[in-house]
């Protein structure tokens, strides 16, 4: 179980998150996949700290968790706004501003 295995797992997780981000219709699902990408980053932090020593990785992971949580909270607030405006949370509803 070396560092490269974990990195592979993390990047797999990251790319799944990106895929979900691009294809899902519902905004909530998009939030979910962003969350996934952030967790992949946390995984790398912890792995680095485990295999390359030093405690800064783990500290960083905890802070990152806090940050992403705050972000998702705001994201959900925006979803509610979208729903209140269009009574649905599909992402293509928010496309009046263009060109």
């Amino acid at each position: 179980m070396t560092l490269s295995h974990v990195l592979l797992l993390a990047s797999a997780l990251f790319s799944v998150g990106v895929y979900g981000l691009l294809t899902r219709r519902q905004v909530v699902a998009i939030l979910l996949s962003v969350e996934l990408m952030a967790n992949a980053a946390n995984l790398v932090f912890v792995a680095m700290s485990r295999f390359r020593g030093g405690v800064s990785g783990q500290i960083f992971a905890i802070f990152a968790l806090a940050l992403t949580v705050a972000e998702v909270a705001v994201g959900l607030a925006l979803v509610i706004l979208l729903y209140r405006a269009h009574s649905d949370t599909r992402v293509d509803l928010a496309s009046e501003l263009k060109q």
């Binding site: 390359r52 800064s56 960083f60 802070f63 972000e71 979803v79």
Partner: protein, 508 residues
């Protein structure tokens, strides 16, 4: 105690935020359902404005240019003080501009907007001095998240179009788009940082460049560049800019288009110039490409625009392209000129947006038609718009001319000849849409739009901006000397260190 002394300015801003919250609490809450007769006076707004103005003045008397805090994570310097003053001025002008718009949009929940503004400002305060990647990320997020809220902040969605029909949910759409791109960028930044700090073994900026960059670290570096770039509106990450500028309330966009970009630039400087200055050959080519793309796409897509907010949005992207050119110079004069350009850009773009907002308030929406006959309706406003456009276009005797000239000169001195030439050519393409706005304001006179009467606070904000743009244009010497001092002070030790590092590398 000594640590608190070095951190007194960011702490003061947070304190101001708390005070604003308290004042908001004490205000009488209108009876539920009762006749909401007239909109209450923007008391909280004035408190914030006075607070920021006081802090800005005090920052000149009580300068803390040295000393560290948070165990070395934060180090004060003249560079930090210069940027902090810049953010304070940005916040002050943004607040002045937005005072009446916020009161109009959400008369009874004004406090919340000011709280968001101040917390974002607090985040910005810390950024320039941050020497630790962790602190940088936290401060960056502290600045970013409130912006999503402020962008989506308008319950009544009163889009001041003359047509009277209020399109539903423009502001919320703007906020949502900004949020989606922002969230993705944050995730990418975190992933990049994870790789970078992991491989380099430290999160301290000063030690970051100790070991040469492994491919994985380079990958992380690039992810960080992309992630942070979103805030500045660099080209591949700029798609949210025009829609958000069109959707959100314009005084907020005036603030959004200036202060956060400056903060983004300070993050880039910290990470790339201070942290990884030695490994320039890794991050310079991508930054040069991004700079070229920003200038190109910014100017090109601004040409066909009819909505003034989108046009100024794209123009902002192009202006940031010029800053990146100076940043890529990676030397003392380059950094100095980045600061100088950001100051010039702050006053110019903020003023331009406020003038466009005032003209739109008087009817005619945000299209060119709203400006027609402006010279007759209110000569003062037209003259200030003229000054801002000249500054954006880089025509003499306004600050924009010196800014653009020295940005390109610094880059040319550092040898980025190709980039500068393409910059100059693309800038000329930009002149076309600046002159077209000028043409709408000065030469066309159809329609009988009423004369715009901006509220006193807005007038003060525009007045300050014009004063700065013309004053500094005629007498740029103090500002140039200040920005050069900041640049030299930060880069001199680094360049010495890099010189030793280079020598060491060659010996081994």
């Amino acid at each position: 105690m000594k640590e608190l002394a070095t951190l007194w300015l960011p702490l003061a801003v947070s304190a101001l935020a708390v005070v604003a919250l308290l004042v908001d609490l004490m205000l009488p809450v209108p009876p539920p359902g009762g006749a909401r007769s007239k909109t209450p006076a923007p008391v909280v707004g004035w408190v914030v404005i006075l607070g920021l103005a006081a802090l800005f003045c005090v920052s000149f008397f009580h300068e803390t240019n040295s000393g560290t805090a948070m165990h070395g994570a934060y180090r004060a310097s003249y560079f930090a003080t210069y940027l902090q003053r810049l953010f304070l001025m940005g916040g002050l002008l943004g607040a002045l501009g937005g005072l009446d718009d916020v009161a109009k949009r959400t008369p009874h929940r004004q406090g919340e907007f000011w709280l968001m503004l101040l917390s974002s400002l607090a985040g910005m305060m810390i950024l320039p001095g941050a020497r630790d990647l962790l602190l940088i990320v936290v401060a960056f997020e502290l600045m970013g998240i409130p912006l999503y809220i402020m962008a989506a902040y308008s319950k009544t969605d009163a889009e001041p179009t003359g047509a009277g029909v209020a399109p539903r949910g423009w502001a919320s759409e703007a906020g949502l788009k900004m949020y989606l791109v922002g969230a993705t960028s944050t995730a990418i930044t975190l992933f990049g940082l994870a790789l970078l700090t992991g491989m380099q073994g430290t999160t301290k900026l000063d030690l970051l460049a100790a070991t040469p960059l492994s491919p994985l670290a380079a990958l992380g570096l690039v992810f960080v560049l992309g992630g942070v770039g979103y805030k500045i509106g660099m080209v591949p990450f700029h798609m949210w800019v025009p829609d958000t500028y069109q959707g959100a309330s314009t005084p907020f966009v005036a603030f959004l288009s200036v202060a956060p970009k400056a903060a983004g630039m300070s993050v880039l400087t910290s990470i790339f110039l201070f942290g990884l200055g030695a490994h320039k050959d890794v991050w310079l080519p991508p930054m040069a490409i991004i700079a070229f793309l920003s200038m190109g796409v910014g100017n090109l897509l601004a040409l066909p625009q009819t909505d003034l907010r989108r046009l100024l949005g794209y123009s902002g992207i192009a202006q940031m392209g010029y800053v990146l050119v100076a940043l890529a110079a990676n030397d003392a004069m380059g950094l100095g000129m980045v600061l100088f350009f950001l100051t010039a850009y702050l006053f110019t773009n903020l003023g331009a947006f406020l003038v466009v907002h005032t003209a739109a308030e008087a009817g005619g929406g945000y299209t060119f038609a709203s400006l027609s006959g402006l010279h007759r309706r209110s000569p003062g406003l037209a003259l200030s718009l003229l000054m801002f456009l000249l500054s954006l276009a880089g025509i003499p005797f306004v600050i924009g001319f010196w800014a653009k000239l020295y940005v390109f000169l610094a880059a040319w001195r550092a040898g980025l000849i190709g980039l500068v030439i393409s910059g100059i050519v693309l800038a000329v393409m930009g002149l076309f849409y600046y002159l077209r706005v000028l043409q709408a304001a000065y030469m066309t006179d159809e329609g009988d739009l009423p004369t715009p009467q901006p509220p006193p606070a807005l007038q003060l904000a525009i007045g300050l901006c014009v004063l700065a743009v013309v004053g500094l244009g005629l007498w740029p010497r103090p500002l140039i000397e200040a920005s050069t001092r900041a640049g030299v002070e930060m880069m001199a030790p680094l360049q010495a260190a890099q010189a030793q590092a280079a020598v060491k590398l060659t010996q081994r």
